[in-house]
Amino acid sequence: MKKRSMWLALLAVAFLLFLTACGTDEDGSSLGEVVDPTEADNGDEVSPAMTGGEIVYVVASDVVTLDPIRSNDSASTDAQSQMLDGLTRFDPVTAELLPRLATSFEQIEPTVWEFSLRQGIYFTDGAYFDADVVALNLNRLLDPEEASPALFIVEMITEVEVVDTYTVHIHTEFPFAPLPGHLAHRSGFMVSPNAIAATEVGEDVEPVGTGPFILSDREYGNFLLMERNDAYWGSQLAIPDYVRFIVVPEPATRFAMVQTGEAHYLVGQPTDFAVASDIDSIDVDLLQTTTLDYIGFNTAEGPLANVLVRQAITHAIDRNAIVEGLAEGVGLVATGPLAPLVDMSPTVEGLDFDLELARALLEESGYTDIELNFWYNEGNNFRGLVGVFVQASLAEIGITVNVASLEWGAYLEATAAGEHDMFMLGWVTTTGDPDYGLFPILHSDQVGDPGNRFFFENDEVDALLARGRQSSDRAYRMAVYQEVAELLVYEAPMVPLRFQQAVLLSNGVDGILTDFANTPFFYRATLRPTVD
């Protein structure tokens, strides 16, 4: 009897301990709550029933950093974009490059850009925005000791000159036409000078900005909460009271959360598209992005140094089958390296799927018994499937392919060192300019570590890319990039596979704007009234 009591008591104590320790830590967030109407200062009144509330955005991984010069992942960019502004921005609806904290920008000399700044802007900590702040932020980004992963985006800047309180001259090493687009990148977001002063070199700065939301609360690995900035300088205040990023690593859980309305917004996976389309509660949208998925060749040595072999392989891979079969029809078949959404994007035919031609080209090259490795990063199922598909496709023309996955860090290291034959990666043209889409990954200055994992060195392409980035004549640049694209089709350092489409899933919310880099903006989002 004694023993039995003891066991029951032990069990009871265990339960009690556990329940006591749990407590309740839910905060009183106002999901779906109707709050005071927000009257925009341009006179537009927002319907009371649609304002306020908390938008829940469910993401796969946590925001790594809120420091714009240090982030290298989409969750961080998404969060920063709600709180911070840059000098310029791409309109989420029209994709047009517009001034943001600047009022205008102009290339006044071949190597000097003049930015006129907006007046009367305050950071959320009360600091005033002016030319000195622009110089402080850009110089911090350019400081090698800060080791910003985004340095390559602005490394052509040689000096940030403060002309007067509201005018900045940005000097570049060479004429650089796409600079305003590059400054729209999140690394160019402006942070309060007080926050920067309170930060040591190499440390993350607090995200004190001028955007429509302010950081309210954060639990690492779990959630990030932002609240409306009621002193926002824009013509309209944000509509939601709060935006909450919730981190949920399991894809099936994320999907179920949107299905039940526990979350309002999710960037789904290609496989979610067909499933979600049959569920009434979920609104599904396909968003065209500027992201290219490609198979790359190491053109430095071996059979892949031969252009005929590269062309043969390209002809042997059925890209339609990859997009329709492996990507569930989500995405556009790519013929060239630049997505249609990229400004001045050229139109090229690409190399068609043609096995006979592939065999003929291979024979002409003189290579036989070719054996190649195909590497992709571990955990990326789509790339793994493409690897197997390529293995089967190239077997048709007598090429043996060994498919292997590597851990992400090791993968980047090995492909930067040129240890690979074929690899698969994606590239997002975040600035919307063809220079960003091509130069970092295809110019010979970028070989290896900096991003040209094709080890592709072509004088003609180099010269064209240099001309393209240095000219501000739009028609001329279009012609240059058309020529580059055609040359790249012939040289075939890569097999462009598809331009990604993002699968956007939402439930009970309208007005979320998403730009071509797949960054959502929540300031116009309205919750639909819930019907009980």
Partner: protein, 309 residues
């Protein structure tokens, strides 16, 4: 007893040191460079080197280890590369307690259900063998089902179809039900099978037959006479289960987005956050050691004739 406590506590020290060295070496010898991950695909060699210096990864391996170990002795587990916060805070601020709650909840549920199913199964074995077979089939299914699959099924049933329970989080009783079930069912199955087997063995012994012959009620025989002997092997299983539940918590926490130690480990592995991973694995190892110690003590409490050594 005191001598035993002290001896066992001292035994934990070499284990902890061994684990620390092993974890440190394994993490530093696997391919992959955290500086590379943080610097991004487009980083040039200078940026990469600067990032290594910022992270302290430029020092020789033994220096890195000695620095780490020296700090560890002072209670400093280092700073998370990813968040820049002290590892001690990352682990013990909230997460450790949450995982402990989850593991205790899962273990309690598995003990409770496991004992009920195990005892019922043993008690019905002779007269109602179909009940016993059914119960054992249930426990076999529970044992065979991976808990990530069970978790997703529970979400589909209780949240999507029935709209009864919230999908994610930890704190309210509604949020705890599905994670507890996900974690507890596998353990329940193992405990049920062990209880049933052990109890069946005990029930076949002479002293039990004598008790039946004397006309003692079945319930008294099972709960008063048989169970205390039948439970001894079950305690071992419970101890082992608690350890595996801590491991299972990694998956359960990922499915239900519970911000515990398990998820911290997954995040740290993904980000190659060495200091955080080292700290978390060390804490896991120490919990295992403590649980083993408690299992030994509970043997003694259940049956005083057992030698502690």
């Amino acid at each position: 007893m005191l001598y035993f406590f002290i001896k066992r506590l001292l035994q934990m020290i070499p284990v902890a040191i061994g684990v620390t060295i092993a974890v440190f070496l394994i993490l530093h010898l696997i391919p992959g460079d955290p500086a590379r991950i943080m610097a991004g695909e487009a980083a040039n060699p200078e940026q990469l080197e600067q990032m290594r210096i910022n992270l302290g990864l430029h020092l020789p391996l033994h220096e890195q280890f000695l620095n780490y170990f020296g700090n560890l002795l002072q209670g400093d587990m280092g700073t998370s590369i990813r968040t820049g916060r002290p590892v001690v805070l990352e682990i013990f601020e909230n997460r450790f307690l949450i995982t402990l709650q989850l593991a205790i909840a899962g273990t309690s549920l598995s003990i409770l259900l496991g004992l009920i199913v195990g005892i019922l199964s043993a008690a019905t074995k002779t007269r109602y063998s179909f009940v016993e077979k059914l119960l054992m089939l249930v426990s076999l299914v529970g044992l065979s089902m991976p808990n990530f699959w069970l978790g997703i099924l529970l979400i589909q049933l209780f949240s999507v179809r029935l709209d009864w329970l919230p999908i994610i989080g930890w704190g309210t009783w509604q949020q705890m039900i599905m994670p507890m079930l996900t974690l507890g069912v596998t353990g329940m199955a193992a405990i049920a099978r062990m209880t049933s087997n052990s109890l069946t063995e005990v029930l076949a012994q002479d002293y039990i037959r004598t008790a039946y012959a004397k006309g003692v009620k079945s319930s008294v025989i099972i709960f008063r006479h048989a169970l205390k002997n039948g439970l001894i092997p079950v305690v071992t299983i419970v101890g082992l289960q608690f350890g595996s539940l801590l491991g299972g918590a990694i998956i359960t926490e990922s499915i239900f987005a519970i911000n515990g130690l398990g998820r911290l480990v997954v995040d740290a592995i993904r980000a190659q956050d060495f200091p955080l991973l080292q700290g978390a694995v060390l804490v896991y190892a120490l919990v295992f050691v403590v649980v083993n110690f408690l299992v030994d003590i509970s043997y003694r409490l259940i049956n005083k004739r057992m030698e502690l050594n």
